[in-house]
Symmetry: none
Subunit: 221 residues, 2 copies
């Protein structure tokens, strides 16, 4: 799961980012409205956490412009001023949920989970592919009912492939979702990761189409 965090206060951004990263999400941060606009308009995120009252561009108009451009990702709005009028305006603008500051990180996580579940699984919090089961709520994976201990990166990988089942995912896309914009990684890092994952899940789980990418589920020609 790939998240965009829009927050101008660097200190707060770092805290929230740490919490979300710790929960297994790939988090990218935008510090001002312009950057947020560009990222949200051009990249694919599974969810946006948006703080109102940004420098550069008002958070509310940012949201409106995304929606006007047909961007439908769920947006969780953080606001210090939880007035009723603002809530209405925000929902009009296309916000999916509100969280008044200050808040507990627990609650942030719960709402993030709820929004993602609502948008990706049509209510279903588990993905089943053959003998493999991915519980996106508990972030656990089991094979033939036997729970597997996956590392955070491994989980993000199965999760992404699971959400895009029956589709060939190019390595570049996986890199982007796993590592964000960080281009420092060797291409081999991904291959090593996949090798470890296959060892844990059993060879049947992740398929390769040489020259194209990886997939889970039915995609064999």
């Amino acid at each position: 799961m790939r998240l965009l965090l829009v927050e101008d206060d660097a200190r707060i951004a770092a805290d929230i980012s740490a919490v979300l990263t710790g929960a297994g999400y790939a988090v990218e941060t935008a510090g001002d409205g312009k950057e947020a606009w560009f990222l949200g308009d051009t990249e694919d995120y599974d969810l946006v956490v948006l703080d109102l009252g940004l420098p550069g561009m008002d958070g509310m108009s940012l949201l409106k412009r995304w929606r006007a451009n047909g961007r439908h990702m769920p947006v969780l709005v953080l606001t210090a001023r939880g007035s009723w009028a603002e809530r209405v305006e925000g929902i009009d603008a296309g916000a999916d949920d509100y969280l008044p500051k200050p808040f507990q990180f627990e609650e942030l996580l719960a709402r993030v989970r709820a929004l993602i579940r609502r948008s990706v699984g049509y209510g279903a919090a588990t993905i089943v592919i053959g003998p493999l089961t991915i519980d996106t709520r508990a972030m656990r994976v089991s094979v033939n009912g036997v729970p597997q201990a996956l590392t955070p990166l491994e989980y993000r990988l199965v999760s992404y492939l699971g959400h895009h089942r029956d589709r060939i995912v190019p390595p570049a896309e996986l890199q982007e979702h796993l590592y964000g914009d960080d281009f420092s990684r060797d291409a081999n890092a991904l291959e090593a990761l996949i090798a470890r994952l296959r060892k844990k899940l059993g060879a049947v789980s992740i398929g390769t189409r040489r020259g194209f990418g990886y997939y889970m589920g039915e995609s064999e020609p």
Copy 2:
């Protein structure tokens, strides 16, 4: 996805073309305004990348004339002079997005993706030619509903011919698309590739017009 790149500087054109091709688009290049006008007016592109300041015909009037002729494909304008007045004029003329030079290729790709997504809305981009179906999103090809295992190069070849159906494509153009500027390859490499592809797809699929080139679909003189 089929793109037209209008750029007079051959060196820059080659670079951009390579990047876009690498991202999976079928790219054609026009080096001057007249050629661009002709191609943009007669062929169907999913997006045009237009550099202003061309010889032969001003990019801005080119754009205006396309729009006047009812061509609605998205246009991404590249400009060295990102002045406010010019932006306004460009948007008036029908540009969908601006990218000031110099730019990172990453950013170009992101904007191209965004424009295409906005215009087609992730529509199922499948090309059907007789018994042959090309799913450009899943990068899969099937004959009479039976999926075929194609190698990356083979796929790029059918994809290109599919995008240019009913048109004779000269071997040189195919070479350029498949291999870029890399002239090291023997001319026979392409013929060998086509032979392998025909074997997989059935002989009916790719036609030869001796002395002119290859084609898919109908091509009676």
